[in-house]
Assembly symmetry: C2
Homo-oligomer: 392 residues x 2
Amino acid sequence: MRTVDSLHLRLLRLLRDHGAISRAELADQLEAPRPRLLAELDRLVGLGYVAEAGLAASRGGRRSTLVELNPGLRFAAVDLGASSIDVEVVNGRLEPVAAYAESADIRSGPKVTLQRVSELLHKARVDGAYERLAAVGIGVPGPVSFRDGVPVSPPIMPGWDRFPVRELLTREHGCPAVVDNDVNVMAIGERHGGVARSVNDFMLVKIGTGIGCGIYLDGEVYRGKDGCAGDIGHIQVELNGPMCSCGNLGCLEALFGGAALAREATVAARSGASPALAERLAAAGTVAACDVALAAAEGDITCIQLIRDGGRRVGRVLAGMVSFANPSMIVIGGGLAQLGHILLAEIRSVVYRRSLPLATGNLPVVLSELGLRAGVAGAAVLASDVAFEQAS
Amino acid sequence: MRTVDSLHLRLLRLLRDHGAISRAELADQLEAPRPRLLAELDRLVGLGYVAEAGLAASRGGRRSTLVELNPGLRFAAVDLGASSIDVEVVNGRLEPVAAYAESADIRSGPKVTLQRVSELLHKARVDGAYERLAAVGIGVPGPVSFRDGVPVSPPIMPGWDRFPVRELLTREHGCPAVVDNDVNVMAIGERHGGVARSVNDFMLVKIGTGIGCGIYLDGEVYRGKDGCAGDIGHIQVELNGPMCSCGNLGCLEALFGGAALAREATVAARSGASPALAERLAAAGTVAACDVALAAAEGDITCIQLIRDGGRRVGRVLAGMVSFANPSMIVIGGGLAQLGHILLAEIRSVVYRRSLPLATGNLPVVLSELGLRAGVAGAAVLASDVAFEQAS
């Protein structure tokens, strides 16, 4: 049994998602009694969340004044990957006003990594992107206790287990902070401003260094009992497949994560099975997953086969998830989503063939719209939500 | 965003689940203002849902009167299996006052089957089990549009597709009716009065003629976009396994449903691999899944192996579901759950080994408590809920 969202939350979200709006229209859209709404607006202006924005176009009678989110409102959105840091400062409409991206190894631990995040945010302030932050949202590549704001037993993040990420960010930046799993924040991003806009039940599948899945059910992120729902990278797809970093055999991730694909690409380059990869290996000394995509686009048969094999394995796991969850949409994102339509075609073919026809009759399987920005976009949504909640 | 349940619904459910209670305690438990509660009670007495039940024990001051659900309140609960009809008439506390069970082939179609249900309910009335029904709840072995009250493309129910089950029952019995999938009603039963009492996120896995899964998320049944969530019987467990009734190869159900187990048992009996089954085949002319359970209990190695093989396959599918959904509990039910602890041990072993440690650290995998009564018990809960909702 959940409670209905309160007026101030609905009001602030409406201003975030629709921009400046007249008081009259606000009252209509929120179906709130006008006196209560006006009192609430006054309160939020006082708190610095809302500002006047001139007069609305006439609707016949006296012209209503427009209100909008305070133009000085700023949120920080952070997306930590296994090997990258993406930081954005966004305004109240969640439009980026500053963005930084750099390589970083999550295994260097929370102190080093979060120190670097703080330095980037400091730089943003010096660059004039903000005076003060209303909230920070951050996604990390591992399971998270959303309630406690800490990573929980994250397999690829040594030193991060139960590290007080939220507490540290709150203290550092003097504002509320919110921590979630990287795949969940991508799903939140796609639902707010991407391909899953207004879809209530969908799965976002991230195929990158790791493989994971963000789950929306009934319009809310589903995190499971321990915050690790969606961990599909460790579902077994080959009984006697290669050993995975988790210690089991034949996990999806061990067969088609970024590392697995790079390994297979190196084999194909060395053996000469793929002339295109052999050329790249000779030129650069190494081949990566993205080289497979480029070579496949040029028609290299071995690379096309590698992508199709991987797509088939992802498809088999997703077919099971579709039978289990009967979602409205599947969104494919993450670095390897750039393998593009060969990958998508193979995933679709297996999902449509292997799931119950009733579940796939009207099931779009599509590529992410926000691409590599999905993570920061979702972190920004989370940050704004936590700031708005605290405006009560 | 869901609305909070209304007072009359909470009140009626409390009387259903806790029995007679004083007005004073009711006001405490429901945290409702006393005048509003008393008015609501008067209204529900007028409608025939609630009745006075004498005086409560003294709490010091004036003795409060007890109220309870009207002792004449009756619901019908129906559980249709592939080859069985179970009907109960229950009182407001959902205690059975009449019960009937018989064999029936769901493939004889909706008219014949529902006619038989009506005859059983007619018999119950003649036997004095009720004067009139407040609602009928029914579970059917296939996907259901819960909103429309009709089966949707049910694979093993020819002639039932979009048949107006709810409408027919409502017309026939002059009361609201509610239709759901048979596995969902089992999950509802276990949550209301079985092993999953008060567990908000769990999966009930039915292993019987078919294999399916009822899903509770955040305290509510999760049905998916088309009402077919939980259809795990058609997840592939062997790439080149036997052909399933759904047309695909190697589905879980094709390898370990009741029919598959009976087929393997027959082979083991004929080949002499299982002396116990051979004896049963000679005596009865046929062997069924339950014979495997009996022979295994007597120590027949082949039968123990058959159950372990099946349990391992179920476990592999469930391990994937645990990684995906991170539930709080898994309940194993249905006819083959009577294969008992050999089956359970094998399922547990695979789930605990193959899922993320974080997800299984505190994950009970247990047998159903209500056993074969889970279906009717859940149908009774659904019936009472729909009757209570209409008391507004």
